[in-house]
Symmetry: D2
Subunit: 319 residues, 4 copies
């Protein structure tokens, strides 16, 4: 499904269910896609950080993306993460994603190596030239350890290199400055980059981002409760901001499941991914809650905490 208009709405980063041997569980993944589309989401982001893209081999990435594209069947656009250290490697992923039917690409700045604004600009420009698909910049300093400057994003938006931004910078003030620079919440349709789509990855402040003028959200915990984020989005679009805020509060409470894993024993990232997958298993969506090696798995006690959070949010486990 080509992106005929700027992407908007709820676009979850699709978890990649794995079996107990660590291979992609395509049956569970197809079921997850159905769960998300059934929840009313407006797009899917495969091979993002929440999809454990950094843990998947190229073959596993291809399997995961092909499964998502196939299961989606054109009902919503599918964005594909093309995550690797530098341009030449990213271009290879981008070509593979294009062949597998992705509707758009999501790429970060170079990482592992230290980089620079002028290099980042060249990186996105060559990537866009090499593969014709709409290109989203993925600003995620917690992974990439550099931030995209608002000036650079604006430049690449205005010259058509970028079709959008997936902002996981956590810098809401910077995002606001970018939106205002692009024409503001009302004026963006007539702004310097009219078709530029801004999606926030800050899943705890989506009401705020939409009020500021963002087009949508890429919520990790949207895997667990896609319908909740769709209600939040619809309330905001209807101008019912206090209703949106109440829905956001419920989702903030649900999100507390990411604290399930004890910080002393596992990383923050594996605890969050593990709790999302545990929740999806408890809800009967996927068969196995394992995260990819070498992440530490949630203990039974932690899974019990996840179950409790689900119940409190009105999402009772089915097993």
């Amino acid at each position: 499904m080509s992106l005929t208009s700027p992407l908007h709405g709820v676009v979850p980063p699709v978890c990649t269910p794995l079996d107990s041997r660590g291979e992609v569980d395509t049956t569970s993944l197809a079921r997850l896609v159905e769960h998300l589309i059934g929840g009313g989401v407006h797009g899917l982001f495969a091979l993002g950080s929440t999809s454990e893209v950094a843990y998947l081999t190229d073959a596993q990435r291809a399997t995961a993306l092909a499964t998502v594209v196939d299961a989606t069947g054109g009902r919503v656009p599918v964005l594909a993460g093309v995550i690797d250290t530098t341009t030449a490697r990213v271009v290879e992923h981008a070509r593979a994603a294009a062949e597998l039917g992705a509707d758009a690409l999501v790429a970060t700045a170079p990482f592992y190596t230290r980089t620079h604004d002028r290099e980042i600009a060249q990186h996105f420009r060559r990537l866009h030239a090499a593969v014709g698909l709409p290109l989203f910049a993925y600003d995620i300093p917690v992974a990439v350890h550099s931030m995209l400057s608002p000036a650079l994003v604006r430049e690449l938006a205005e010259d058509g290199t970028l079709s959008g931004l997936k902002d996981s910078s956590g810098d809401e003030g910077g995002l606001r400055r970018l939106i205002v620079g692009l024409g503001g919440r009302d004026g963006r349709a007539n702004g310097p980059a009219p078709r530029f789509s801004i999606l926030t990855g800050s899943e705890l402040t989506v009401d705020a981002a939409l009020l500021a003028g963002a087009d949508g959200v890429v919520p990790g915990i949207g895997n667990v409760d896609p319908a909740g984020y769709v209600r939040l989005y619809d309330a905001a679009r209807a101008g019912k901001w206090e209703l949106a805020a109440k829905e956001q509060e419920r989702l903030v409470e649900l999100f507390a499941m990411v604290d399930a894993g004890p910080e002393a024993d596992m990383g923050r990232s594996s605890s969050a991914l593990g709790s999302f997958k545990a929740a999806l298993k408890l809800l009967g969506v996927i068969a196995c809650g394992d995260t990819a090696f070498p992440q530490i798995q949630l203990s039974a006690e932690s899974v019990a905490v996840v179950a409790q959070r689900l119940r409190a949010a009105g999402l009772p486990p089915v097993r």
Copy 2:
């Protein structure tokens, strides 16, 4: 004016005008207080980071605070920053501020030294025991280089050590989790710490913070346009969220004055403080726009940029 109810509304961190010798210009400071109260603000925060507290000697701090208290004359509460490296030094500032008539204190975690949650808890508890005034925790990692954990703030809120939080962490998701933990946007009146006041220092996303349930804002650029922030606050309180967002957008554009100083030649902090003071001089509020030594002063070109931003925001310079 004692804090009989939780502090709320617009509480600007009051700039400290200096004369050309670097001494506190009390006449200009009194005029600035009048400018702010005339703009409708709900409180004043003296001796904060924007007040250049880190640059002032103890004698200058006393002069500045006494001037603000005196000029305010009890019309709104005056909060006093008590900024120093560790407990014993902060207690001395706190006693001085109490004697000078401050209505509440604002203190950070220890800095310069590396610290720890248990130490920070002891720090705030002793400070509160030593000086009876309502105490606000000031979370400003850009200065202090540690963050207050939500768990710690909640503990100190619930046991009555803290009367509020001035949040300049930039972590809007963490702030949302704290608000929800304290009862949420509606439930905080009956929450575990019912009289706890949450003020955001993120001046570019105030509409968002108020929607999330914050009580008010401490905007540096509120020195320049206090009435704008009051309009924003009033719109939010009236549930007119889109009106609030439009006002916020205007203030975001005004805020771009902080880019006036070239980054190659001066620090980000001195550029922001210098532009606020240049704007106050252009508006006829203060006599001299100098920032404290050893900060680099804005060039004439930079001041011209500030003037341009003022005009664009509907605040024409008077000189």
Copy 3:
């Protein structure tokens, strides 16, 4: 050439010469290997950070490693970097490197994702189990954004998972604590991990590292002046510490070439790599000094600075 004794001496991270289309220039690379072995080095580290491994596709990595192995012809051991985000991807690189004839592997902790000591331990253990080759941990927080804890390195040294450490942490005090923990400069032969090899990547303090008990060095600028580092190493081994220090000083002055590129226009990393390659071209070793896309290339002025540094260090350009 198998590692029959702990690796020691000068083991440069071999630059990867590229042609003007960005492809590996195997002729130049073979000549560089000859330049290094002719300089007396004790081993070669292919596909390290200085080799621009993060910029090379898998096919280019294979070409570069095969060329180094082939040109070396067993005269010294060849270590191969297997740099990727997480275990499954690293194992694929490790298998490829083993097939191409590498004598040992060099791997970092997981990156892009946030990780944790227990996960890092599992990562190195599975990698070692999957591919039989001697395994070196590569501690390079500037790229990986986490540090290997001395306790973890010691644990993995003592249980035989790791054969050595390539330390680019910059934390010389921590390295000293590790060496003392492993038995000290004299006692390591009888220490808890007797065959464990410690190589420093801190090329400006090699005399110090050898005095502390390190076994060798992996100097990026050793590409330019391998004989200098070999003289430094030999002086240290002979107990002529002041001679070693004088040689180190000469190499520190040579190293100043990395400042050749203006920081305003290019990143620190591309400036360093660009100056090494410019020097190798000036010395007639490689045909083209280009660094991989999207790095910014050195200007002619910068290349002139490199030439000046070469002359001052007694290494006159031949073109």
Copy 4:
């Protein structure tokens, strides 16, 4: 005792013994000075980070400095830390220190506020102009959160603003570049800043720093074993580098006492300071091992670990 020649040798940062009420224990402090001078040290650094300067009120700072100056009686030079956020506040400390008889001053760059090279240069220049004493720059990014650039230090060394550098940056490569830039280990007497003294605060790599050309060391754990550091220094000055390295190894093992406090319960800084003070109490030098509020005190178990370390290093506790 004026600094008639560049400062060199072992210059411990003198711990500030406190009584159980948190006040400076001048009797213990005088005994500590005797312990240090008796150990052969070449100077004393009062009111440094290890002296808990950040925890002391101005009155306590004056008491501590007066006690050190008085107990020293001119036998060695006394340097005084003048640690505060910005210039005006530092100048006040500097004047107080000069009146109390300090022989030299040690100042950091501005902190709490964000700063900039040009501002730092102005800061040191005004400080030097205001108080005639020799001035040392204190590079301690772990506390100050900015680093002094080698170019800036060199500029301020060459124009006579600075008499020396106390380097606690941990960046040994940067320090080496600075030394080479100032004329190198042999050439510094005739270098561009001939009387400039470089003292390392990296107490685990002192042999290395002396080999590189540093003039001396400011070792925190030199409070506990001053004679050990003097032996290390003397060995280095005699060109007996391997003897120096062996002494350094013994001191590295002694230093492991800083791990005594469990990281889960107290900060790294309070654990190190607490272990030094516990050791001084165990050795009969000071009466009470308490660190300043709000630091967490070492448990009895941790003190037992300190005692064990002392015994292993040949420094048996006397109580």
